[in-house]
Symmetry: C2
Subunit: 337 residues, 2 copies
């Protein structure tokens, strides 16, 4: 058959700090062959590397210690809802609770992710090679996803296997050039491995046999799968980004430049702020607002309305600067830089 | 071996509207067995079901037609950056371009997703059963993910296979109850299938053999993997949610209630708005702001500052209502409802 096999590795037993994973795995799977891909649960990699933190077994002390560990593993908080914190780890993974795990370990310890899963994968691959078997290695862990219920395993680290299979530039049978089809195959291999692994039943390693090209060469590692926050359209939770928008409105700077503002966007902002009819628009670059109620309270309300308008302009991606005078405000508008 | 096999189904050939997929697949894979899982690329399901739209082969007419098709397949736009639109389809999937595809089809057609991928899976499963083989069926497609580069295949539809494998409530060897480990196994099976399928090479179906429990019973379908927007922390792109926050600031209603406001959050809001020292706080529920510059321009600026404060309060999740008078503003604050 020209397909793949996904094989569980049983009998590895409990892994503790200092254990030689290559020894444990090759002993449990003497049938390993060149070209196999080892999909190794990050938990046992962490345990072998001693990535454990001692915490109280229960009570508020445990919760406090856990919060402290989470903070130390966190580069930035991406989203939070109730007790759930989605954070970006120092490695760059976006995961619930920074991947810190309390399962499959005694109650006085938490397991952290490996310090460098790519390094861990490379070391394990080299140690297997030293034992005479040239494999690819994927260090996998369970992650949640945006938009979809349930969890899947993905690759935290990889060695000896290309992270992507790239279809870009290929031509399909109809002559169309394929686009946007860079497949994250190490994530798919991690998911495939999970199907034969278990959470409780001591199968922390799966072997994928038959995947072309595995084990042969050095490869970039799973780090190339990390999308940096700047290029990610979902770098922050919706509620957090919404709050950021409100905070931006609270701190709007005076920033209009010469960059022309889109007239339609300016119109939409005036409508959003509820100021149709009370804003004169000599050009989309200059809005003149005149105060009609000249009592102190009326002038204050007018100032608030002008700030509403500036917030609505910012929502359209427009910068603004305001100058108040005796009878109203002149708002300079520009495209944002 | 007690693992899984992932087998490609070759020789299916071109699929066109009206084709009987069960016939094509069982003829190409006479080795199919009870308990196998068919992982079928949604593209051939769509083609068999005639889910094609005719469009001009090129030029601006093609782009316009494509935009129109996208709009008709879209329930809501989730995020947009440049030419990339991430939308939620009418089914509920969050996908780039609503899963509309121009590859593996002639240049005058676009392929839409199946109308109901779960129904498609159920029909195909029933048609295979009628041919004497009891299989599970997954209709798969390629999707991008937040936070991670590269694409993976996931399940759009499923029949005869449990969508989740649930570890919740299980006890690990250390006596810890497992939590949050509801695995989306049909997505993992779709990913595993993709590893032996090809974009161009006419392998639109993979068979997963050996997955326990497949094919036996009716199951809920992939629809249970759809997380509704209300419970999704990433229901909107970061930029879109940020703009929504600015728009909220432009339209802040008067909404304070009796619900007590958190004093620390109120303090933070005053600091964010840059109004430390100029806001008196008799209680976190009542903020008194006094205008110091009583010229018309000064009163307008004061009004804008009060609106900054209200925006900052909203960013902290606090509702507010403002009353202006001769000498300043009284802002009532409450927890949001």
């Amino acid at each position: 058959m020209d397909g793949l096999e996904i094989l569980p590795v049983r009998g590895i037993g409990d892994v503790t700090a200092g254990d030689d994973l290559a020894e444990l795995i090759t002993r449990a799977a003497p049938w390993l062959r060149d070209g196999d891909v080892l999909v190794v649960t990050s938990k046992i990699v962490s345990k072998a590397e001693g990535r454990l933190v001692e915490v109280p077994a229960d009570g508020p002390e445990r919760e406090a210690a856990r919060a402290e560990v989470l903070a130390s593993e966190t580069r930035r908080v991406v989203a939070r809802r109730g007790p759930t914190a989605i954070v970006q780890t120092h490695h760059g993974f976006v995961m619930a609770a920074a991947g810190i795990d309390a399962s499959n370990v005694d109650k006085t310890h938490l397991v952290l992710l490996p310090e460098s899963p790519d390094e861990s994968a490379r070391r394990l691959r080299a140690a297997c090679a030293a034992r005479g078997v040239r494999v690819g290695v994927i260090v996998s862990d369970t992650m949640g996803r945006a938009w979809r219920n349930g969890l899947t395993d993905v690759a935290l680290g990889a060695a000896g296997i290309e992270p992507f299979r790239d279809h870009r530039g290929e031509i399909d049978p109809y002559g169309n050039e394929l686009q946007l089809t860079e497949m994250a195959v190490i994530d798919e291999l991690a998911a495939a491995g999970e199907l034969v692994k278990g959470k409780c039943d001591q199968v922390p390693v799966a072997v994928v046999r038959g995947y072309p090209g595995a084990g042969a060469a050095e490869t970039p590692g799973a780090v190339v799968l990390l999308r940096d926050a700047a290029s990610d359209m979902f770098s922050l939770g919706t509620a957090e980004a919404h709050a950021e928008g409100l905070r931006t409105a609270a701190t709007l700077p005076q920033t209009a430049t010469d960059a022309p503002a889109d007239a339609e966007a300016v119109r939409r902002a005036i409508t959003t702020a509820g100021l149709d009819g009370s804003v004169a628009v000599p050009s989309p670059q200059t809005l003149r607002c005149t105060a009609t109620d000249t009592t102190p309270a009326g002038l204050m309300r007018f100032g608030a309305d002008v700030h509403r308008l500036r917030s609505a302009l910012a929502a359209e991606g427009l910068a603004s600067a305001v100058a108040y005078d005796e009878t109203g405000a002149t708002v300079a508008v520009s495209a944002a830089q």
